[in-house]
Symmetry: C2
Subunit: 205 residues, 2 copies
């Protein structure tokens, strides 16, 4: 259904719409966000709009009342965080990951080889999510969650060019986790993210 979902709060609805409009480029970086304008556009009052804007500010999608225009530095900063957190998470995964999740991880690799672009993107996201959850650390999970939007925003420009070896790297990480080799899993994950960053930087540079 495409009509607005009356079962959720106005705040939640407007947040979701705004967020999507930013992520899909409908509201490009630099766009001024004016409460009243958004409010009348979406058919809500300013009050819930205000709250969604605040939430988007916390996620870094809105800065100074404008849609963020992430810099190369932002990209580096976010990836450096991911390298630290997901590296650690991969190590945890090697120690703790239950069989069920291990299978799910492998499915992501398989879809990465055979799926449609859409499916591949989902699978990649899921691959990382499973590993992050293995950290069993809600602070980390929430932090990475908050960073997702910004990273996605950047990735859009990159995503159509499928990066070579991406799935191979995932498979290697999967193998290391399966073999319960924490050191190796962490190291591979860090290299994987670094390569991803380098690829992004190369494309936009």
């Amino acid at each position: 259904m495409l009509e607005t979902d009356r079962s959720r709060s106005a705040t939640h609805q407007s947040y979701a719409v705004l967020r999507d409009r930013i992520l899909n480029g409908e509201l490009p970086g630099g766009t001024k966000i004016v409460e009243e304008k958004i409010a009348s556009e979406l058919g809500f009052s300013r009050t819930p709009i205000r709250e969604s804007i605040r939430k988007l500010e916390y996620e870094g999608l809105i800065v100074n009342k404008r849609v963020v225009k992430p810099t190369e530095k932002d990209l580096r900063n976010n990836f450096q965080m991911r390298i630290l957190l997901e590296g650690y998470a991969a190590q945890c995964a090697a120690s703790f990951l239950p069989e069920k999740d291990l299978q799910a991880l492998y499915e992501c690799v398989e879809i990465g080889r055979k799926g449609t672009t859409e499916e591949i993107m989902d699978a990649n996201e899921r691959f990382h999510e499973i590993i992050v959850r293995a950290s069993n650390n809600s602070v980390m999970i929430d932090t990475i969650d908050r960073m997702q939007s910004l990273i996605y925003l950047f990735r859009k420009t990159v995503v159509l060019n499928q990066r070579p070896h991406l799935i191979d790297e995932h498979e290697q990480i999967y193998e290391a986790i399966k073999a319960r080799d924490g050191e190796k899993a962490a190291d591979l994950m860090k290299r994987h993210l670094q390569a991803d960053l380098d690829f992004c930087l190369h494309i936009i540079g």
Copy 2:
């Protein structure tokens, strides 16, 4: 001056007051936070109070409309994050830290030995802050900033018992940074935070 500061917004004022009341124990863990009650208490309307509450929720000081009661798990999660981020920051500091900051770092160590309890606490906080800033990564800096309140809340119970070797450890970290030994600085920082965590857990356990 103790009277409310009219130069700042109601949102900012109420945020600061609420935050402090939570941190100093005036609003102990588990206390139900009711917008209307706080509003009339502080002499503002619900609108700005609502916003401050949201902000405190993002910081983790309010959960489900109640003042957070951090668990041992929360403590561990937060410290694990700090170990990763501040370990990395210490490494950066060894590479990049300007002379001026290096001196400031040493002053923190000195105050740690000679100062009053109040001064020591401030110096300890500053010591870590200088190193975190050396990461030159705003995402990291902001993340650690957001975690401070929760950590402080927990620390309150521990802070009166001065932990042995704390200042010695700071000095060692300072020395490693001064010697531009990134590996060592990171390693010492990680051990330092782990020791801090263990001490906290021991006290509350």
